[in-house]
Symmetry: C2
Subunit: 253 residues, 2 copies
């Protein structure tokens, strides 16, 4: 059952020293955000925390309370720095158990790859009461416990897990958006943007300036859950920009 009035929200915790050291450029925030939009769920906050149990526990507790869904990426692999399962179990106050189906999956996967060892068996550990999220890319599954989703850190593995979850989560009306591109300095039309947004209550207008081909321009992204309001706001902004002598490129530049 979908409830069009309710705005469904999610938090995301990106776990990993490699992101905080700058060694790895995060790609999961954008892909989780984009996927959530399609499910009718709004990503409301992201926290990036180190591989330190107390810090993960703190973030899980804060974001579980604040949002409908919570996703984590990173820290579910086989090595000693993969502590997401332990931290989440501690936050929830449940023990860590070996999931029999995950163990069977890993036994099959590693049958021709040197067999299951202690490190590999770590990937069958879950907070008690969890189910598995399929992983077509490598042996180790993701973990779902109610509205909490523990996913891989490697982006293409996370992508496969999100794919497996598509359509499984209750969401609201997806946030629609329309982009208008314009070769104008955003500072020149700031007042027009403000007035147009104020005149269309369900719409937000974001302004994203750029400098390209030696000229300044901006894309104005209008967002609304109502297709009708979105069109009215987009028409009104187009009129305002063209009325000021600026050509508008629908879909953005």
């Amino acid at each position: 059952m979908t409830s069009p009035e309710k705005i469904w929200t999610a938090g995301l915790i990106v776990i990993g020293d490699e992101i905080l050291s700058g060694r790895t450029q995060d790609k999961n925030i954008a892909q989780v955000a984009t996927w959530l939009q399609v499910q009718g769920i709004r990503l409301a906050e992201v926290r990036v925390v180190p591989d330190v149990e107390a810090r993960i526990v703190e973030a899980v507790n804060a974001l579980t309370l604040a949002y409908d869904y919570l996703f984590t990426t990173g820290g579910i692999g086989p090595t000693h720095d993969d502590i997401t399962v332990d931290a989440v179990a501690a936050a929830l106050g449940v023990p860590v158990v070996i999931h029999p189906e995950a163990r069977a999956l890993l036994e099959r996967y590693y049958e021709t790859r040197g067999g299951l060892n202690e490190g590999r068996l770590r990937m069958a550990r879950v907070p008690e009461g969890s189910e598995l999220i399929p992983n077509r890319m490598s042996g180790a599954p993701g973990i779902r416990r109610g509205n909490l989703f523990l996913m891989a850190g490697v982006p293409h593995i996370t992508a496969g897990m999100l794919d497996a979850l598509t359509g499984q989560l209750e969401g609201g009306a997806p946030l629609l958006s329309e982009t208008l591109g314009c070769w104008v300095a955003e500072s020149e039309v700031a007042e027009l943007l403000r007035q147009t947004e104020a005149a269309h209550a369900t719409c937000q207008i974001g302004s994203y300036p750029f400098f390209r081909e030696g000229r300044v321009g901006a894309n104005f992204v209008i967002r609304s859950v109502s297709a009708e309001d979105l069109k009215a706001c987009s028409d009104s902004l187009t009129d305002g920009l063209t009325g000021n002598g600026h050509a508008v490129t629908p879909g953005g530049i």
Copy 2:
């Protein structure tokens, strides 16, 4: 004066609906993190929050308390959705004022670009008691107030502001790192990694697996503030890996 014992820490708040919607791939986390490492400051937490004043205030309050430095990116432009200055001033309990030097900078910059209007003048607004961070790329400066740094959302503008701050902040010994690459499944050597880390108290070992050219491999990143400990740990891990029949590529694969 540098204090080698103290670990200097920073928080980062990435402000912007465009990141949370997935429309824009964030690049500031990695560049701020990398820059901080060189200053001897550790990025300890990142929060991504929407363009909503209450949410920015909450994040500023939490991270100001927790870390030595706080950086923000985004929301200091000329449009109605640029509310970082107002939110930070509210969090600090100080008024927003026009900074005379910023106003003069903007007047000069826009002299040949259509003149200063209300939107553009927004970029001269700062929380009372702030100084400016030079911006060589476009007119609007960044803002520094004590250990709080408000920077642009557009990555190349932020890069210029970080450049202007290089060497200005007190930090500790920079965290050193060494990377060892190996064509091995990390799950095969998980126990070796755990034991090696445990035997070198000041070192952390991160394991970053990959799948490339049809084979699995991993880069093991050892981090320490002590060059000596780093070398001992790296040598010990190299011995362990080669002893198990795995060739090691110094510097990573």
